[in-house]
């Protein structure tokens, strides 16, 4: 009976909390109820629960577990759904707390109210509009000042409440609102233009606030197709097997692996495939180029993928474990290469990496690091400038934004990252001429003494 009452009280917690930790919370109260018997202890338990419910309802629950989703086949963002504070839960929490406090104060005059521990979670986005499609018709953003203002207010609120440095987030939000007030967003024709303009303003404000170029801050995204509302269903064994078969069929995205005249190794890799499936294929590709005198790594059509595979390839270029900077705060990719790799002879061979404006994400992670480490000559165009290191928040069907919600690791190099600015080539040529240029460089490389 008592446990059921506790379970009932737990139902008053915010929905996101119940979804994420509801089972654990019920178990915790069941454990306490088992161990704390007698009128006084039971009353204290209820008092604790009421206090906690009151505090939790006031600050809301916004720390939903990030979950990975794919957006239009692009590299991954973390999606965190923003849920508003349920008014009925807040009202019920306040009412219950008042009633319980009143009852127990009368019953247990000597009982001191429990101190609430310091609050951690200042839930973001409680005022963020719900993302209702009618409220956020993308065409209305262009034509309807009120709808546009709501969108910009939601973006500013996200900056203020979600950017990991609250003070800077406040100033970034203010900068966007100032531009809105000046009418800078009124003459734009499309959602894409609006997103691009706001991004430029965020970038400009970031520089003015002393945030280094190349560091990801926030990025407003406009999508013609409706953005997904939540994470995809978990992969079944069958889906996993099919994905594995497709990757192997595509040679793990290695388009070409060959030895060119003058014993120059050439590999064209159009994505970094899942290392759990492709580790052996990658190893075989690198082994097949092991005896070449120079190596060209063609990433012109590489849109990114899994950092593990990029790290694996980089491992062949060094003679010792080498740090590879990854801007993602909780990156699953190890920080260092697995060098030296037994039998590998590429460590002292010249390396040329081909880039284009389509080279992005994990491919830029590879390019940035080998450039900073002065291990390769980059030939081609400046890369796309997409770190994909933030968490993505859906605002409505067509707008969302990535935000650096957790402080990123700091790059040890002078250029602090590649967001927006991309990675500049050492030898700038159009992407169509990059292979010829790299071959010429490789053929005329200085002969080691």
């Amino acid at each position: 009976m008592f446990e059921r009452f506790c379970a009932l009280l737990l139902r008053l917690y915010p929905a996101e909390f119940r979804r994420t930790y509801g089972r654990e919370a019920v178990q915790l109260m069941r454990d306490r109820a088992r161990d704390e018997r007698g009128v006084f202890l039971r009353a204290r338990l209820l008092m604790d629960l009421a206090t906690d419910l009151f505090a939790t309802s006031l600050r809301g629950w916004q720390a939903a577990r990030p979950s990975l989703v794919r957006i239009d086949g692009a590299p991954r963002f973390d999606i965190i759904e923003v849920h508003g504070l349920r008014p009925e839960a807040l009202a019920a929490g306040i009412l219950t707390s008042i009633l319980l406090f009143a009852s127990f104060t009368l019953l247990f005059q000597a009982t001191e109210p429990t101190k609430t521990p310091a609050q951690l979670s200042e839930g973001p986005g409680s005022e963020v509009p719900s993302g209702d499609a009618d409220e956020f018709d993308p065409r209305a953003v262009v034509t309807d000042p009120e709808a546009r203002h709501k969108l910009i207010a939601a973006i500013a609120l996200n900056l203020r409440q979600l950017y990991f440095d609250r003070a800077l987030g406040q100033q970034l939000a203010d900068a966007v609102l100032v531009q809105e007030k000046k009418g800078e967003y009124e003459s734009l024709d499309t959602g894409a233009d609006l997103a691009a303009r706001i991004n430029r303003d965020i970038q400009a404000a970031s520089r003015a606030l002393g945030i280094a170029g190349g560091v990801f801050v926030a990025d407003v995204v406009h999508s013609e197709r409706a953005l997904p509302t939540g994470p995809p269903p978990p992969m079944t064994d069958e889906m996993r097997e099919r994905s594995r078969a497709v990757l192997l069929l595509q040679n793990c995205l290695f388009e070409t692996v060959e030895t060119l005249p003058h014993n120059i190794g050439y590999m064209k890799l159009n994505g970094f495939a899942d290392a759990t499936v492709c580790r052996q294929t990658t190893g075989r590709a690198m082994a097949s180029l092991n005896k070449t005198d120079a190596l060209i790594v063609d990433l012109r059509d590489n849109g990114g993928g899994m950092g593990d595979t990029a790290l694996q390839i980089a491992g062949y270029l060094f003679d010792r474990p080498t740090y590879m900077y990854d801007p993602r705060p909780d990156s699953p990719v190890p920080a260092r290469t697995a060098s030296p790799i037994p039998g590998n002879t590429l460590v002292d061979k010249p390396v040329y990496v081909l880039t284009s404006s389509r080279t992005q994400s994990a491919a830029e992670y590879f390019v940035y690091n080998v450039k900073m480490l002065k291990r390769a000559t980059i030939v081609g165009e400046t890369t796309a400038g997409h770190q994909h290191s933030g968490a993505f928040h859906r605002i409505n069907d067509h707008f969302g934004m990535g935000i650096q919600q957790v402080a990123p690791p700091e790059s040890p190099y002078l250029v602090k990252g590649w967001e927006v600015i991309g990675v500049e080539p050492d030898v700038e040529v159009s992407s169509t001429d990059a292979l010829a240029a790299a071959r010429k460089l490789a053929e005329h490389r200085p002969v080691p003494k």
């Binding site: 930790y21 919370a25 915790l28 419910l53 939790t56 979670s121 990991f164 800077l168 957790v406």
Partner: protein, 116 residues
């Protein structure tokens, strides 16, 4: 680099990190351990406990270890949490910060004695 929201470490987060210094614990054990280490002054409710745990997970200060049931118990499988190296360092930094506060308090004669 600007400071993040766990610097300085909030009291509940600090207590949770300290509770995990010796063992992997599940939610209820963390709550009990915090109660013990604060001489019963702090009992963390489920909302504060799990929101703090979520923030600490996000910051990489703790990690979830495999679900498991308690030995000799029919309880459901529980989530256990483990202190990471970064979490241990954060707890140490916070302890040192508090020690500095104590040193100042003693110097100002607000607090007496070598140790508290």
């Amino acid at each position: 680099m600007p400071k993040n929201k766990l610097s300085p470490l909030p009291a509940a987060a600090f207590q949770i990190l300290m509770s995990l210094a010796d063992d992997d614990l599940h939610g209820y054990e963390i709550m009990r351990r915090v109660e013990q280490q604060t001489d019963g002054r702090t009992r963390i409710g489920p909302g504060t406990l799990y929101s703090s745990i979520q923030v600490l997970l996000d910051a990489g200060f703790i990690t979830e270890v495999a679900l498991r049931g308690e030995a000799g118990s029919n309880d459901e499988r529980r989530r256990y949490y483990r202190l990471t190296t970064a979490g241990r360092k954060a707890a140490r930094d916070e302890a040192e910060r508090l020690a500095d506060v104590l040193r100042v308090a003693r110097a100002k004669k607000i607090l007496r004695g070598e140790y508290v």
